[in-house]
Each structure stands twice: as structure tokens, then as C-alpha cells.
């Protein structure tokens, strides 16, 4: 194990080359619904228990199923209302289990990025070949069911190996949501040398982190999302920023919580100069317009030869 995987270089937030989003927008705003499948009886990974009790863990399994049975339609309806195309973090096996959901998202031209096969199958302990097989399986499953290969990756249940991003870049991916080091896209160092970037996907704004880990109250979650936006919008006047709200239908779409989400979408989309977009579009736009200049600036500031 190493002190640092060297996935990204130190690159100070001040004095970076200015990012200009399309139409002069200050903030690139995207919503990333995680549409996941958790197995009721997964194999027991030696490094991480899928469920805290013996199977069947009824409440844990069933609330996640609630997300697909009940919650999905509620969130999709809100995103329709505010003209937001979701960027789905997809458990690829959901294409097999619940193709109806995939169809509805395809009809709306939503993006699908890879979130592994199941959220109960972790990267931990897999050999590099096994991890490649899993990544390729998800990649081709999504391509087959949606007509397009995924551009982005969020490792299943945020479980990684030292090679996760290298492997995803090697199968043709262009962005990752696994890094939380910045509020702007940044180049990521991958071993094949491809133009591969991190698109900010906020852990802090993630509903499951807010509700399950930090245990915050629904209306307070709405408040901090709006405050997060306010600051990124202010700073975006100088150089474009990215705001992401990662969601889960078993959290955000519960009857006592959906109001906080709706009020936040109403607030954010009520601003001019917001680019309502998807993860893929942010990655592509950044790579096309800013990747090379960012690399040069990083080299300059790290005192290395470019």
C-alpha cells in the first residue's frame, strides 16, 4: 500500500485558468440518481459485510427495494417538472431485473453511468483480472440495454482497488465520480495516459450520506443544499463550478423528504446562468475545452516539466 495513489496532483483552487461553461453559465448543475439493486443473499465478501445481520436482513433489503417500487417515479416526476435529465449511477443488473425503469429513463434521454453490477458486490479482494471482468460486464450490459456505453464510473458501494480508475479508463470510460477532492473537473492520472477526468459528485450533498450517516433533518438538508449552491454560484462568476446532487430513491423520495428536494430544485433552477446538464456532458465539455490547459497549469504549479 502507498501513501498516495497519485491519481491527482496538488492543484490550488486559486488562480486556475478560467472555466467558461456554455452560454456563460456559472454553475454546471447535475443530479445523479443512484438506481441500485441490492441482493437479498449475496456472497459474503471477506472485507465488507453486505448486511449487518444474518440474511434475510428484511428492513435493509426492503427499504432499498422501496426505492425502485415506489421512489423512482416520484423523483422522475420532479426531474421532469424542472427539466432535469438524470445522470444515473446504475447497478448494471437492474437492466435485467427492472427493465421498465431503464426504458423510462431512455425515453427521457437520461445518462447511464456504471455503478458496478450490484451494490452488494464489492471490489475488495478481486484480482485485477476479476475487477476488469466485473467492469467490462457492467460496461457491456449498459451498452446492450441503453445503446450507449457508459462514460462514467462510480465504483459499486464506493469500493475501490488501487487500479479501479485505470481499469475503467482502459475499457473506454472518460470520467469518474469516485473522487471528492475538488469543486471543478480535474484531470486524473491513469496508466493508459488517456484524457480521463474527475467530475465533482458530492459526498456532502449525497442524500444517503446526509440522512443515514450524518442523520440530518429533511428540511435542514434542503437548506444546506441551497447554501452549497449559493456559494458555488457566487464563485462561478469567476470560473465555472460544478454542483451535483447524488440521490437514492429510497431516501429522497420518501413522503417526509421529497419536499426538501423539490424546494431545492425549484430554487436552483430559478437562477439564470445555471447549466443544467449531465455528468457525461460536463466531462466531454471539459476535456474538449480545458483538459490540455489544465494539464499545463498543473505542471507549472507543481514545478514539473510539462
Amino acid at each position: 500500500m502507498k501513501e498516495d495513489l497519485q491519481l491527482f496532483d496538488y492543484w490550488p483552487y486559486d488562480n486556475r485558468p478560467k472555466i467558461e461553461w456554455p452560454n456563460g453559465a456559472r454553475v454546471a448543475f447535475w443530479v445523479a440518481p443512484n438506481i441500485e439493486f441490492y441482493e437479498i443473499d449475496p456472497p459474503l465478501n471477506p472485507d465488507r459485510k453486505p448486511w449487518p445481520r444474518s440474511n434475510p436482513y428484511v428492513t435493509g433489503y426492503s427499504i432499498r427495494d422501496y426505492g425502485n417500487r415506489v421512489g423512482h417515479m416520484r423523483q422522475m416526476r420532479l426531474l421532469d417538472k424542472y427539466n432535469i435529465r438524470g445522470s444515473i449511477s446504475l447497478s448494471a443488473a437492474l437492466c435485467d431485473h427492472h427493465p421498465e425503469i431503464i426504458e423510462m429513463c431512455l425515453d427521457r434521454d437520461w445518462e447511464f453511468f456504471s455503478h458496478g453490477i450490484y451494490n452488494t458486490r464489492y471490489t475488495y479482494g478481486l484480482s485485477e483480472d476479476q475487477e476488469r471482468e466485473m467492469i467490462l460486464d457492467a460496461f457491456s450490459t449498459i451498452q446492450e440495454h441503453t445503446g450507449k456505453p457508459p462514460a462514467g464510473y462510480l465504483a459499486p458501494a464506493l469500493s475501490h482497488s488501487p487500479h479501479t480508475l485505470d481499469l475503467f479508463a482502459e475499457v473506454g470510460g472518460i470520467y469518474t465520480c469516485d473522487l471528492f477532492h475538488d469543486d471543478q473537473p480535474t484531470p486524473v492520472n491513469v496508466r493508459n495516459g488517456s484524457k480521463f477526468v474527475s467530475v465533482p459528485y458530492s459526498l456532502e450533498m449525497n442524500d444517503t450520506i446526509a440522512y443515514v450517516v450524518n442523520k440530518i433533518e429533511p428540511r435542514y438538508y434542503g437548506k444546506i443544499m441551497r447554501e452549497n449552491f449559493d456559494r458555488l454560484y457566487e464563485e462561478g462568476a469567476d470560473s465555472g463550478t460544478v454542483m451535483c446532487i447524488p440521490t437514492h430513491n429510497y431516501q429522497i423520495s420518501c413522503p417526509h423528504r421529497i419536499r426538501a428536494f423539490e424546494e431545492t430544485l425549484e430554487y436552483i433552477t430559478g437562477h439564470s446562468d445555471v447549466w443544467i446538464t449531465t455528468g457525461r456532458e460536463i466531462a466531454e465539455y471539459y476535456i474538449e475545452n480545458y483538459y490540455d490547459s489544465s494539464r499545463e497549469d498543473i505542471s507549472r504549479k507543481s514545478g514539473e516539466a510539462s
Binding site: 456472497p43 445481520r53 434475510p56 428484511v58 431485473h97 453490477i117 479482494g125 442523520k215 413522503p255 417526509h256
Partner: protein
């Protein structure tokens, strides 16, 4: 380093669920349910009356609200008993004030231990359902089936005897089940159970003794989940329930009847500083003309009358 090849094999990766207990079905794809008098929202107030033995075995885990200190954990034991002797009587008063039709989920041990309380409940004629034997008599994956069968048989038959009711509903202690629990419940005459939290409406659940109904008793809206697990304030509890009520009434306008299920514990909301919050919730919800206060069995009956089974 590598894992066994079974980690990359997915035997249940196919259409529908990864088990055979119920069919995959999105809520919006089902026929609309119409409640009596065309009400939009059924209010199901479910009161858990629980006994936590002080000599807790904690096998295979300590239940939510259970003992956490070395024996004898008088603080938790007595705080839970507070609910059965003080909190519940505050609840009953509040229910009557707001004309609520509650449902009582009893650990059978509560019925055995407190005949006075049983008489009060019997006189009210509210529905009683079985919440297992007691909070330390858990059902769990890997449990011996004969042991579990005995546990269920005793819990149900004793509660039926003491309540004088048929007792056709069930909630497992801490909603924990083994693979066999639904089969054993059906074998013992249970018609509906409330452990699964994957829906906002009832649905059919398969057992090897015929179908039973899974009733949607929200865990996310439970008093102990919001206050004890999430550590939210009492005021936020009220806000969350009222927001859920408003949202579900709006949804019901378009999609057919919905259910607001409030699973509450007298050891939690029965405290002097919290009972007023329960009253605020009941006042708000019952002020809505769209709300129908009903027992679990009433809701189940209407769901079945709608041809949804």
C-alpha cells in the same frame, strides 16, 4: 489475491426480484385503491407495546431499544416499562381526544404480564396484533425452524386466548425474520404482517402455505427511528409527519388511496415532553377532511374489497 469465482456469478440476475416471495411491481402500475367515503389517506396509528427482559440474551443481536449496560441494566429496563405503565395511558387519552382508531401490536409477554392493561384494551375493542413473544425473542436467519415454530405458535395462541380476538396480524420483534418466518406465520393463521418496508401500499406475499399480505408500516416515519436512531428533534418529528401527510394526500389525488402509517412506542412518545408532539401530529392529520382513521384490519379489508388481491 483474488476471490472465489462465485463472486462474479449471479444466479438470480434475471427479470423481477432475486427471490420468490413477491412479484416485482411498481406502485404506479397498480389499480387505484378507493377508501371508504372516497377518503384519500388512511391513517394507521400502530402502537407497539413491548417487553424488554432485563436478562437479555441478545441472540443473535441486541434489539433496537434493548439493554446495553451490564446486568442488571435498570435504566433501559425501567425506561421501557415506563411506556407500559405511564406512556400508554397518555396515548389512549390523546387517541380519544382526536377520535383515532388505533391498532395495538403486543408482545405476548405484555398481555401475560399486565392483565389490567389487557382489560383496558379489550374494553376498547381496538384491533390487537401480535408483535412476537418479547423483544429478546428474535426471529433470525439460520434459526432452527422447530424452535421458531414453537415461538410463533405460543405467541399467537396465547395472545388469542388473552385478547379474545382472532389476531391475524403480525410484526416480528425488531422486524427481524428468518427465511421461514412468512411460511410459519401463514401456517398459524396470520393474514398480514408488517416487517417489510418496500412499499407504501399493501401487496401479496407468497408463502408455502398460501399468500399473505405485506402491510406497509413505515420504519422511516417511526417515532424511535426519527428520535432515537436519527436523533432529530421532537419538532422535526412533527414536521416530517405533517410533510408526509401533505405529500401523500396530494399523491392520492392522482394515484388513488394512500396510507399514512405511524408506528409509535409509548416509551418514546409517551414522555411528558413528547406527548404534546404526538397530539400536534394527530391534530394536524385529523384536521384534514381527506383522512380516514382506520385499524390495520380495516385497511386490509378495504384493500381486498378493491379487488387488489
Amino acid at each position: 489475491m483474488s476471490l472465489d469465482k462465485t463472486f462474479l456469478e449471479y444466479p438470480r440476475r434475471k427479470y423481477g426480484m432475486d427471490h420468490d416471495r413477491y412479484d416485482w411491481s411498481m406502485l404506479t402500475d397498480r389499480p387505484k385503491v378507493i377508501w371508504p367515503e372516497d377518503k384519500k389517506l388512511a391513517l394507521w396509528v400502530n402502537v407497539c407495546l413491548q417487553f424488554f427482559p432485563i436478562n437479555q440474551k441478545g441472540k443473535p443481536f441486541v434489539p433496537t431499544g434493548g439493554m446495553t449496560m451490564p446486568y442488571p441494566d435498570l435504566r433501559h429496563y425501567s425506561l421501557r416499562e415506563y411506556g407500559n405503565r405511564v406512556g400508554i395511558y397518555r396515548f389512549l387519552k390523546a387517541f380519544d381526544e382526536y377520535s383515532i382508531k388505533p391498532t395495538f401490536a403486543l408482545n405476548t409477554r405484555v398481555a401475560e404480564r399486565y392483565p389490567y392493561l389487557m382489560d383496558v384494551l379489550k374494553e376498547r375493542e381496538d384491533e390487537i396484533l401480535c408483535h412476537g413473544l418479547h423483544m429478546d425473542a428474535l426471529h433470525y436467519g439460520g434459526q432452527d425452524i422447530d424452535e421458531e415454530r414453537k415461538q410463533i405458535d405460543y405467541s399467537l395462541s396465547k395472545l388469542r386466548e388473552l385478547s379474545g380476538q382472532d389476531v391475524t396480524g403480525w410484526i416480528s420483534p425488531d422486524r427481524s425474520e428468518s427465511d421461514n418466518t412468512p411460511d410459519l406465520l401463514a401456517e398459524h393463521g396470520v393474514q398480514y404482517f408488517c416487517d417489510w418496508v418496500n412499499d407504501d401500499m399493501p401487496y401479496q406475499f407468497k408463502t408455502n402455505n398460501g399468500e399473505i399480505v405485506a402491510m406497509p408500516l413505515s420504519q422511516e416515519l417511526e417515532d424511535s427511528f426519527i428520535l432515537l436512531n436519527n436523533k432529530h428533534t421532537e419538532d422535526s418529528y412533527v414536521e416530517q409527519i405533517c410533510d408526509a401527510c401533505d405529500f401523500l394526500i396530494d399523491e392520492a389525488d392522482e394515484q388513488g388511496g394512500r396510507i399514512l402509517s405511524l408506528n409509535i412506542h409509548p416509551w418514546m412518545l409517551g414522555q411528558p415532553h413528547r406527548i404534546g408532539k404526538l397530539e400536534s401530529v394527530l391534530e394536524y392529520v385529523t384536521s384534514k377532511s381527506e383522512v380516514w382513521s382506520a385499524s390495520a384490519a380495516d385497511i386490509l379489508k378495504e384493500y381486498k374489497r378493491n379487488g387488489s388481491s
